[in-house]
């Protein structure tokens, strides 16, 4: 049974997340961690915005906080977000990866190591290639890989790159993504 979801999203992310996250039920049985590439001074706007739209609790990830089911965590701007073995969040100001801090690969790779086959990795809209390497690591560790159908993405490069380079498990349109993640959480 899955334990955690990690989502990576870049250009077009505000709209995509505003469609997907509100579809998750309040008692969603997995934790959901999101890296959205943002400007450095975005603060916790995205978390507050999504929390207002969604039945599930949405908040900014805090340093050393435990990942809990039924919660969506948004990476703060200006820091890489990682998961430690004890399933708490770690931050770093290591150099940007794929020109990004936070970087999707950084979150995905650390989460893959911690959760292995109990992880679902999701790459959404974006105009770069961050997330591809991380998704590959999730696949190698036995996790499930999901990519947004590029035709439904505001920016197609990121999902395309993931599909080209990783043998992904699911390709899902934007409007079905929330339901898909809800259904997957019920799988054993």
């Amino acid at each position: 049974m899955y334990e955690a979801v990690v989502i990576g999203v870049s250009a077009g992310g505000l709209d995509a997340l505003s469609k997907i996250i509100p579809q998750l039920p309040e008692d969603y049985p997995l934790s959901v961690s999101v890296v959205q590439h943002t400007r450095k001074d975005m603060d916790d706007f995205l978390a507050n915005h999504l929390d207002g739209l969604s039945p599930i609790k949405v908040k900014e990830a805090e340093w050393q906080e435990s990942l809990k089911p039924g919660t969506v965590y948004i990476a703060p701007s200006g820091y890489h977000l990682l998961v430690e073995k004890d399933k708490t969040f770690a931050f770093s100001v290591d150099p940007p990866v794929n020109y990004a801090i936070p970087s999707i690969d950084v979150l995905f790779e650390s989460a893959a190591r911690v959760y292995g086959s109990k992880l679902i990795g999701v790459v959404l809209t974006g105009a770069n290639r961050d997330g591809t390497k991380g998704l590959k690591k999730i696949k190698e560790a036995g996790g499930l890989t999901v990519v947004q159908e590029p035709k439904t993405a505001a920016a197609t490069e990121m999902p395309r790159s993931a599909i080209t380079n990783v043998n992904v498990d699911r390709i899902v349109g934007l409007s079905e993504m929330g339901t898909c993640l809800t259904e997957l959480a019920k799988e054993h």
Binding site: E62, W63, Q64, P76, G78, Y79, H80, L82, V83, E84, K85, A90, F91, S92, V93, D94, P95, P96, I101, V106, E109, S110, R113
Partner: protein, 276 residues
């Protein structure tokens, strides 16, 4: 045997080898980002496994220097989080002003952007002359960059924007000279800065501080090491001395939480209590 157990063993051995050979103790660092650094080095040096680092660490100082150099680079900028500097200017400086001499410690100063920002701020508040700034780091590669005070010219635009947002009173261009690829900060800013190697993991206090800045270093440490370092800060501060942590760092759940009061909670500025 599980692959990840083997990997864990390899990493432990690499950290032991580094500690044994050079005295740098990364064993109590937060693991996830340290492991990324190690894996990057394995990849860039075309090694087949993490444990291949061990003989290199032991016998090849140039290899270890590469690793240490990797570790010296972090994301920082002058007046990073400008609102922190604005708050320091408006709420901490009026207190600092009352002391005849001021000691400020930038603990883990990395490549120096922050200490120069502070020197500029103090200069504009008329406090630089009576202040000594201690800028310390365990990593000599970082310290060398800090001491030079030369930064790539493409950083200047961001530095300038931050400076303005931080309540800068002058023109940022007054503080540096450029050639075509770099900007050199005015030497006068350095006059009251002491750059020194100090390892937060094992070295002790060295002066009575009025103000300690340690931003985004604690996030690299495990809880045990965080407590060690914070106790060192507490013991180095004068009663009612100030301390600022990184924007996402907190004293919550640490061993010194009750020794400090929150002074500006939003900007993570703390003040040591009178009696601790």
């Amino acid at each position: 045997m599980d692959k990840s157990e083997i990997r864990e063993f390899e990493i432990r051995q690499v950290l032991e080898a580094i500690h044994f050979r050079y005295g740098y103790d990364f064993r109590n660092y937060a693991r996830a980002s340290l492991e990324r650094r190690i894996e990057n080095r394995v990849h860039q040096s075309n090694l087949k496994s993490i444990s291949e680092m061990i003989p290199l660490v032991l016998h090849d100082e140039d290899f270890f220097d590469l690793f240490l150099k990797d570790m010296s680079i972090t994301v920082t900028e002058m007046f990073r989080d400008p609102e922190v500097f604005k708050t320091i200017r408006e709420t901490v400086c009026p207190h600092l002003k009352t002391y005849p001499r001021i000691n400020i410690w930038h603990a883990g100063c990395a490549t120096g952007e922050e200490v120069y920002s502070m020197a500029i701020l103090l200069e504009e508040e008329g406090l630089l002359e009576k202040t000594r700034l201690y800028a310390t780091d365990y990593n000599n590669f970082s310290l060398n960059i800090a001491e030079r005070g030369i930064y790539p010219i493409d950083k200047i635009k961001g530095f300038t924007e931050n400076y303005l947002k931080s309540g800068g009173k002058s023109s940022f261009a007054d503080y540096y000279r450029t050639n075509h690829e770099s900007a050199k900060l005015n030497v006068a800013l350095k006059e009251n800065i002491v750059f020194a190697n100090h390892n937060l993991i094992k070295d002790g206090r060295f002066a009575q501080m009025h103000f300690i800045l340690c931003r985004n270093a604690l996030i690299y440490f495990d809880r045990k090491l965080q407590n060690r370092v914070l106790e060192l800060f507490r013991d180095s501060l004068i009663p009612r001395g100030f301390m600022v942590l990184g924007k996402k760092e907190t004293l919550k759940f640490t061993s010194v939480d009750s020794d400090f009061e929150s002074f500006e909670p939003k900007e993570k500025i703390y003040r040591r209590k009178l009696d601790v």
